[in-house]
């Protein structure tokens, strides 16, 4: 972790409307060396009965990660690049506080390991200056990893947003969601 080629000008941009539910990201995520062959990305049907819409969810890497704050074992840490890491295997007690408290529904309790696991933005790749696995394989660019200049050139009618409103709580994140041009936040409730 000390010797790193993490590129701070690269950011993650998600656009759920572009997700076609192909699950290529799931397969690619399981290739990430830090996950031990477990896929950490979520692809869900939103309301299967009425729509074929799928949604894709990576860890949003919150500026003030609630998962880390509610962890009773101090197992979740945020590094100097604002990446929120998966649970420390030695410390995690598998209580699922983080799973239930994450406003984006990201962490996964792996029952067989009695441990939480989550997306760490493919730290083995991003710390070496590469793109996360999911973003490299997404065919519709619902998941994009690159610079602000690149995304503004590709999506001139969209604005990256990293502020989310959950009732009384505002959450800011490292990962951006592409919104209609001029948007400043996404209100969930």
């Amino acid at each position: 972790m000390e010797v790193t080629a993490y590129r701070t000008n690269m950011e993650f941009f998600v656009d759920m409307q572009r997700c076609i539910g192909c699950r290529a990201c799931e397969m690619a995520c399981a290739e990430c060396e830090t996950n031990g062959q477990e896929s950490m990305i979520h692809v869900n049907y939103v309301e299967r009965a009425v729509t074929i819409q799928t949604t894709v969810q990576v860890c949003m890497h919150c500026d003030d990660p609630v998962c880390a704050q509610v962890c009773p074992a101090d197992a979740i840490t945020k590094d100097e690049f604002a990446v929120v890491h998966s649970a420390n295997t030695a410390r995690c007690i598998g209580c699922s506080n983080c799973v239930m408290a994450c406003p984006f529904g990201v962490p996964i309790k792996e029952e067989k390991y009695d441990m939480m696991m989550k997306c760490n933005m493919c730290y083995d790749r991003t710390s070496a200056g590469k793109k996360p696995m999911c973003a490299t394989v997404c065919p519709s660019q619902a998941l994009f990893y690159g610079t602000r200049e690149e995304i503004s050139r590709m999506r001139p009618n969209s604005t990256p947003v990293n502020t989310f409103i959950f009732g009384k709580q505002e959450v800011t994140t490292k990962v951006n969601i592409m919104m209609p041009k001029g948007s400043t936040h996404l209100k969930i409730h």
Partner: protein
């Protein structure tokens, strides 16, 4: 780095450390059974005790930890205490003693961890009471002066005889070399982990030297120099004994002083896993929470209610306008809500893509 003294933790840790000094003073029969050669280890052990209790108290004051700690004992001390106690005992043997939860993560990993843990815990159980003067060995006076009689050796705990064995017997060999067996276990476990940490790409990316590699290196140095002490007097006529003993002492004291701050603190934290299991089992009996979006049960009602309190205590308020909470939704429900909100925003923006 900001450091502010946690007064409550400081007071408790000072009391516990002083209590240990008093118990050791009288336990060693006013230092009669205390081995002065271990004085440096004694101070290292006392510092480790102070640091461990201090950090444990600070840790317990964190809102999520406090909640789990409180709930665990509330759930245990009920009318069905004996049933709960038996469940906890069973779970502790399975997950603390044999670390069964590691087995699904990898058989080799479990084997390595079990050897490392068994070696370390057995070594703690032997060396700490020896250092504090709680345990000592004496030659049985009745047999010592009698020529031709097999010499008996007594093991004493707090000055009271607990067992005796014949010198030169198999039990004597096993007991006198107990730390040797521990060292081999620790070396085997630590080497497997070290190889894994130096070859696994995921670990190489996320580990730190001081957090993950140094603890293993330190354990190997302690075990090797410990073995070296035995090797030196058994096979080398004491050559290099001083070097081994000084290196061993330095490594052990560094290890002791570092326990409260580094990776080894997980040994103290791990029993919390038993509490988390009890919390889940007992919570299920009280009722499950159903996600308003998916209509499915996803965790216990107790867990959701407690999380609403804990999140507020750590500075988050997920209360919604209608008085319900975002935390009432399951992880899948939350992801769907986000997608629906995004769809709505795109619809209102006039185009789905931009």
């Amino acid at each position: 780095m900001n450091f502010s003294l946690n007064k409550k933790a400081a007071v408790i840790s000072i009391i516990v450390t002083l209590a240990c000094v008093v118990v050791s003073f009288y336990g060693s029969r006013k230092l009669q059974n205390f081995d002065p050669a271990l004085i440096a280890y004694l101070f290292g052990t006392l510092f480790a005790l102070f640091g461990l209790v201090y950090r444990y108290c600070v840790w317990l004051q964190r809102p999520p930890t406090r909640m789990y700690f409180k709930r665990t004992w509330q759930l245990v001390f009920t009318r069905s205490f004996l049933v709960r106690a038996f469940t906890m005992l069973k779970d502790s043997i399975r997950n603390l003693l044999f670390q069964q939860f590691i087995y699904p993560r990898g058989r080799k990993r479990w084997m390595a961890h079990f050897m490392l843990a068994a070696g370390c815990l057995a070594a703690f159980a032997i060396t700490i009471p020896l250092t504090l003067g709680w345990i000592n060995f004496t030659l049985d006076p009745a047999t010592a002066l009698e020529p031709g009689m097999t010499k008996l050796y007594n093991a004493n705990f707090f000055g009271f005889k607990v067992m005796s064995f014949e010198l030169g017997s198999v039990p004597a060999f096993l007991i006198f070399h107990a730390l040797t067996w521990c060292s081999w276990l620790v070396i085997a476990g630590a080497v497997i982990f070290l190889v894994r940490r130096l070859t696994n790409a995921g670990l190489i990316a996320s580990q730190t030297f001081e957090g993950d590699l140094l603890p293993l290196i330190l354990l190997i140095i302690i075990s090797l120099t410990g073995l070296g002490l035995n090797f030196s007097y058994a096979f080398m006529k004491g050559i290099a004994y001083d070097f081994m003993s000084v290196t061993h002492a330095i490594a052990v004291i560094l290890f002791l002083v570092w326990i409260p701050f580094g990776k080894f603190f997980h040994i103290i934290q791990r029993p919390a896993q038993i509490g988390a299991h009890i919390y889940k089992q007992e919570g299920k009996k009280k009722g499950m929470a159903v996600c308003p979006h998916t209509g499915k049960e996803f965790t216990t009602r107790l867990h959701v209610d407690d999380l609403k309190i804990v999140t507020k205590e750590v500075g988050f308020d997920f209360t919604l306008e209608d008085g319900t909470s975002h935390l009432d939704y399951s992880p899948e429900g939350k992801r769907s809500l986000l997608a629906k909100a995004h769809l709505k925003a795109r619809q209102e923006g006039g185009t789905f893509f931009g």
